[in-house]
Amino acid sequence: MPRPVAVVAFAQTEHSGEDRGMAEIEILAPVITEIKERTGQKQFGFTCSGSCDYLAGAPFAFVSALDAIGAWPPISESHVEMDAAWALYEAWVKLQHGDIDTALVYGFGKSSQGNLRAVLTQQLDPYHLAPLGIDAVSLAALQARAYMERSGAKEDDLRAVAARSREAGRGNPFALHLPEPEGDDYDVAPLHPYDVAPVTDGAAAIVLAAGDRARDMCERPAWITGIDHRTEPHAPGVRDLSRSDSARVAGERAGATGIEVAELHAQYTHEELILREALGLGEDTAVNPSGGPLSANPMMAAGLIRIGEAAARVHDGSASRVLGHASSGPCLQQNLVCVLSGENHG
């Protein structure tokens, strides 16, 4: 039996679609301050963050961000060069060791200060993909066509995902407020501009706690009943792009059944449809009531935000069994599924 660990607090920025003149650390610091106040904690047993040096344009960019949490006296700390959802996984594993009871997890990204598409190209295989200069949207469009040709889904089905996400996002004070999707122009066909998540600056933080510490810090902790992440080959040409096997397996391992609310890290409209299918989410599951990444997509935080948004439904009592999902790599290469429950555990 894993040790019972719960999401006890979640904080995020009011995300921005443009540079507001703040440095990364200035975007992050208020979120850390907020979550410390909310949990009454000044220090945590472990701290883990997710960020990307290529976004900041500086090596070891996460080191300077540590100033936001107060790194002296020396703290126990780690970092993933990925979405902070994977930092949460690392913190969960650390909590399973049993020598700590609390962990702070955060992620941040300021996409507006560079060319995000070109930045993401640098994360690709440096032998066969990056030298071609292929960008993230072009890769996603390859997957969109493979999915549409296999499933029979049409561009209107994709547009409906965008419309629903944007409408939900306009009701979320932290998301960008985007208009109804319109226009026939393609970005990279078959994707229209509204099929693509907006460039977003922002940050988010989550506090995890184990057992009684969780009950002390939160009236209704969101207990992690299952968490798993899987990866597929990096090369898109060896995968069936129309499906997400790694999401399917991660969902099965995490026990993703009976889900009331699912927050999916779908950065393109077709990804939501592929993920719904892989995770077996039916009509009775509310998907991305926050608006999802199509309404706000701060890189390296958007996956963590999915877990936070899902947990928030448990915290406020509006749902008792939820799912947070994160993805990384080209065409949904890696997928993480975190199932959370309001039922008393431990």
Binding site: D135, A146, A175, A189
Partner: protein, 321 residues
């Protein structure tokens, strides 16, 4: 609220960025024996894959079987270079990082003899920025690499892929010297004077224009000249979307016009009205070129233009379709 922030370019009171950070150059990387072999073969203009323990061929080759994680066999197999597109996306407006500076497709291409696909750019000979993908671009399309003349051992040794040749254009040009015959000579003489001449048939009495010296209905010679007005009625028409050197801009309308008093229709252009407003029964009048440009040619009439008269009922033109 995020939506309440000032639009880009507005005076936000924020200082302009004073520091542009660059990430120049790149890294020097060892490629190892598997990728190294692939790149060495590319430099020689060959495409190879590597065989897995269960006999599949991976292209591009990797050191391990993506399904099992086991080492590959080390047996390299020449594949393609022709391959099949398994999926594609269309870039109508290339970014500066992209390999082509005009619209192109990204495609996953499975070379013949391979079990996996290679990602590359696909050049379909489209030049207009913002153009839509050509209709013949489809999953399943057969393509082959265009090799760079100067190759260095890298994925860029293939400049891009191109469709297999499935059609050729075989240009042909023959010259002929034509004489129009007596009737046509008279007709063009009339045109050079701004007159439209026809022949009246001695049997059916209908006026044939342009005249041929014969009545096509009765098969008898015709000689009686009649001058017709340059007004008439559109009997039927076609909207053409393919450019033609003789026509105004696309779309243009070619129409059969029944000149007033004529017994046969003439093929001509109709202009001066949006193509989608041309209709059967519409009244038209010839638009002549300036008199000083007149020659012995039908081209003295640029086209026919609508005149402000009621349409002719279908009943009256139905026999002239």
């Amino acid at each position: 609220m995020p939506s309440d922030t000032a639009p880009a370019g507005a005076d936000t009171g924020l200082p302009e960025p004073n520091h542009v950070l660059e990430f120049p150059g790149g890294y020097t990387r060892s490629v190892g024996p598997v990728i190294g072999r692939f790149f060495s073969e590319l430099r020689d203009g060959r495409l190879v894959g590597v065989r897995t323990a269960d006999g599949r061929v991976l292209v591009p080759p990797s050191e391990y079987d993506p399904l099992t994680g086991e080492d590959v066999t080390g047996e390299f197999v020449e594949v393609g270079p022709v391959g099949t597109v398994t999926t594609w996306s269309w870039v109508a407006r290339p970014a500066k990082e992209h390999p082509l500076d005009r619209p192109f497709a990204w495609a996953l291409i499975r070379p013949d003899g391979a079990d996996t696909a290679l990602l590359h750019a696909l050049d379909l000979g489209v030049f207009d920025e913002g153009a839509k993908p050509p209709k013949f671009l489809k999953t399943g399309m057969r393509v082959r690499p265009r090799w760079r003349a100067e190759r260095t051992g890298g994925i860029g040794d293939i400049e891009c892929f191109q469709p297999e040749v499935t059609m050729i254009n075989a240009p042909t040009r023959l010259e002929y010297r034509l004489k129009g015959g007596q009737a046509l000579r008279r007709f063009l003489e009339g045109m050079s004077e701004g007159r439209i001449l026809g022949h009246r048939c001695p049997v059916c009495e209908s006026v044939i224009v342009p005249m041929k010296g014969l009545c096509p209905r009765d098969g008898v010679p015709t000689t009686e000249e009649v001058e017709l007005p340059d007004t008439g009625t559109v009997t039927t028409f076609a909207v053409n979307n393919i450019p033609d050197p003789r026509a105004p801009e696309v779309p243009f309308v070619s129409a059969y016009v029944l000149l007033d008093g004529a017994g046969l229709t003439m093929l001509t252009l109709v202009a001066g009205i949006p193509a989608d407003q041309v209709r059967m029964g519409m009244r038209v009048k010839a638009a002549w070129r300036p008199r000083e440009e007149w020659e012995r040619t039908m081209g003295n009439i640029k086209w026919f233009e609508p005149v402000d008269e009621p349409d002719v009922p279908f009943e009256e033109i139905k026999d002239f379709m």
